[in-house]
Amino acid sequence: MTRKHFIIIIGVWLSVIVGLAGYKQYTVWTGTTVYLRTIPVDPRDIFRGDYVTLSYEISNFNSIPFTGDPAGSNTVRSDIYVVLDVQPNGIATARYKTYIRPVNELYMRGRIYGYDRIEYGIESYFVPEGTGRNRNIDYIEVVIDKQGAAVIRGVKTSDELLL
C-alpha cells in the first residue's frame, strides 16, 4: 500500500464520518425545535447498548388527513410529508399529510411502512446503560430542518413541559 492509497482511504473515511455527522449536525444547528407526543417501548441494540423504541401520535398514517391527490396512496414505502401545527408551548401536532413537498410550512419527511405506520428516522432514543426500562418519556424534543429531516435532541415528561 502506497502513501497515495493511505490518503485515499483516510479521505473516504473522513467523507463518510463528516458527511454522516455533518448532515445531522446541520439539522441541529438550523432546525426548528418542537415537542412530539410519544409512546415508548424498550428493547436493546446489540451494537450500541440500551435504547428506547419510540412511536409518535403522528406515526399513525390513518389518523392524519390527506391533502392533495391521494392517488398512489398504496405505493410501497413512498415518501410522505406531514405538515405540523406548533402550539405556543412548542408541542407539535399533525395538520395534514401529502405526497407533495410543502412550501413555507414546517413539515416532517417520513416513509410509509405496512398499512398505517409512518417512520421519520427518529424511532430510537439511546439512553445510558440500564436506564431504559425505568425511563418516563412523554414528549421527544426534536429539531426539524427545512428539508423535513428530524434529529432527536432530548426527552421530556409532561411535568417538565409544564402541562
Binding site: M1, T2, R3, H5, F6, I8, I9, I10, V12, W13, L14, V16, I17, V18, L20, A21, K24, Q25, V28, P43, D45, F47, R48, G49, Y51, T53, N74, V76, R77, Y113, G114, Y115, E119, G121, I122, E123, S124, Y125, F126, P128, E129, V151, I152
Partner: protein
C-alpha cells in the same frame, strides 16, 4: 509423504548427502520455530488491537451523555485515523513491526466502523439501520483493495452478509408474513452467487487472487448452510392455506423483484465469467452448471405456486451436487480447504437427514444409540478418507 520422509528418501536415493540433509532438517526446524513465534506475535497483537478497540468504544459509549456531540465525533475520528496511520507506518513505511502494523490496521478499520455506529448513537439514528453497515462497507472496500489482505477480505464478506440481513429485515415489510420470511434464504443464495462470480473475476488479476478466494470460500459456506435449510420439507415444501392479504402480496412482490434482479446480475456475471475464462476447465464448467441451476431453482421457487414438494427434492439435489463439485474441484486442484468443506457439508447433511427421517420412527433410546454408532463410524470413515486425500496431495 511429509518433508522429513522426503528428505530421508533423497538421502537413500543418493540425491543429497547426509550432511546436506542435516542442514535442511535444522533449517526447517528453525523455520518452524520462527513461524510459531510469528503466530504468537500475530495472535497477541490482534487480541490487543481488538481489546483496545473495544475499550475505546465502551469508553465513549458509556460516557456519551456527559460529552457533547462534536468533541466525541472529533475524538473518535482523530483516534481512528491515528491508529490506522500508525499501522500504515509500521507495516509499509518503516517496515519494522509488520505484524503489529497489520493488527493496528485491523484496529483502525474496526474503529472506523465503531465511529459510524457511535455517531448514529449520538444523533439517535434508528437502531438496526442497514445504511450504517453500508457506510462501513464503503470504508472497508478501499482497505481491502489497497492492502490486498485476506483478513480484510473476510471482514468485507461478513459485512456484506450482515448488510444483506439488515437490508432485508428493514426494507421488506414482514410483519407476521411467514410465507415471505420463508423465501428469505433465496435472496441470500442468489446474492452469494453474485459474490461468488465477483470473486472469480479476481482470479484474473494475480494480485487479487487471495481476496477472490476468500470471497468464494465465504459464499460457499453461506450457500451450503442456506441450501441445507431449504432441504427441509417444512421450509421449501407445500404451503397450505396461504392467506394472500394485500400486505403479503406487497411484501412478496418486493422480495421477488429484488431477488430476480440480483439473480439476473448473478446470471450475467456467471455467463461472462464462463465465456471470458481462457481455460474452460472441467471444474469451471461444473461450477457454472451448479451455480446457474441454483439461480434457476431459486427464481422458480419464488415465482411458482407452492403446491408441491418438488422444490424440497430440487434443493436436496443441488446441495448434493454442490458438495460433489466442491469435493471434485478440491481434489483436482489439490486444495485441502475445499476437501474439508465438502466433508463438512457431507457430515452436516447426514446428521440433519438422520434426525429428519428417524426422529419419529425410532424409540428415543434406539435413535440415539444407533445415531451414535453411525456418527462414530461415519467420523472414522470420513477422517481416514480425509487423511488419505491429504497424503496424496503432499506426495510429489
Amino acid at each position: 509423504m511429509n518433508i522429513a520422509g522426503l528428505i530421508q528418501s533423497w538421502v537413500s536415493r543418493g540425491v543429497i548427502t547426509e550432511a546436506q540433509a542435516q542442514t535442511m532438517r535444522s533449517d526447517i526446524a528453525e523455520l518452524k520455530k520462527e513461524r510459531s513465534s510469528v503466530n504468537i506475535i500475530v495472535a497477541l497483537s490482534t487480541i490487543g488491537a481488538i481489546a483496545l478497540g473495544l475499550g475505546v468504544i465502551m469508553l465513549v459509549a458509556s460516557n456519551w451523555q456527559y460529552i457533547s456531540a462534536l468533541p466525541k465525533v472529533l475524538f473518535l475520528t482523530v483516534g481512528t485515523i491515528s491508529v490506522y496511520g500508525a499501522g500504515h507506518y509500521f507495516l509499509y513505511e518503516a517496515k519494522s513491526y509488520v505484524h503489529v502494523g497489520r493488527a493496528l490496521l485491523l484496529l483502525g478499520v474496526l474503529l472506523y466502523c465503531a465511529t459510524i455506529f457511535l455517531i448514529a448513537q449520538i444523533y439517535h439514528i434508528n437502531a438496526h439501520s442497514h445504511w450504517l453497515i453500508l457506510w462501513c462497507i464503503v470504508g472497508i472496500v478501499p482497505v481491502v483493495y489497497s492492502t490486498k489482505d485476506k483478513l480484510f477480505g473476510l471482514l468485507l464478506s461478513i459485512a456484506f452478509y450482515l448488510w444483506l440481513g439488515f437490508v432485508s429485515l428493514r426494507s421488506f415489510e414482514f410483519g407476521d408474513v411467514e410465507e415471505v420470511a420463508v423465501a428469505m434464504p433465496v435472496l441470500l443464495l442468489v446474492s452469494s452467487v453474485v459474490l461468488f462470480f465477483a470473486g472469480g473475476f479476481h482470479f484474473r488479476m494475480p494480485a487479487l487472487r487471495a481476496i477472490g478466494r476468500i470471497y468464494r470460500l465465504t459464499t460457499l459456506l453461506i450457500t451450503g448452510l442456506v441450501l441445507l435449510v431449504l432441504t427441509f420439507e417444512g421450509v421449501s415444501g407445500t404451503v397450505e392455506n396461504i392467506y394472500l392479504s394485500d400486505e403479503t402480496i406487497r411484501a412478496f412482490t418486493q422480495l421477488s423483484v429484488t431477488t430476480v434482479a440480483v439473480a439476473a446480475i448473478g446470471f450475467i456475471l456467471g455467463c461472462l465469467y464462463f465465456l471470458k475464462n481462457p481455460t474452460q476447465s472441467t471444474s469451471i464448467r461444473y461450477e457454472a452448471y451448479v451455480t446457474l441451476t441454483l439461480l434457476a431453482a431459486s427464481v422458480l421457487y419464488l415465482l411458482m405456486p407452492r403446491t408441491t414438494d418438488i422444490f424440497t427434492y430440487v434443493f436436496n439435489a443441488i446441495y448434493i451436487a454442490l458438495t460433489l463439485v466442491v469435493l471434485m474441484v478440491g481434489y483436482k486442484r489439490e486444495d485441502m480447504v475445499l476437501v474439508n468443506r465438502a466433508i463438512f457439508f457431507t457430515s452436516i447433511y447426514l446428521i440433519v437427514r438422520y434426525f429428519d427421517l428417524f426422529w419419529e420412527l425410532f424409540d428415543r433410546s434406539l435413535f440415539f444409540i444407533f445415531g451414535g454408532i453411525v456418527l462414530v463410524a461415519g467420523g472414522i470413515v470420513l477422517e481416514s478418507q480425509r487423511r488419505k486425500i491429504k497424503k496424496q496431495f503432499l506426495q510429489p
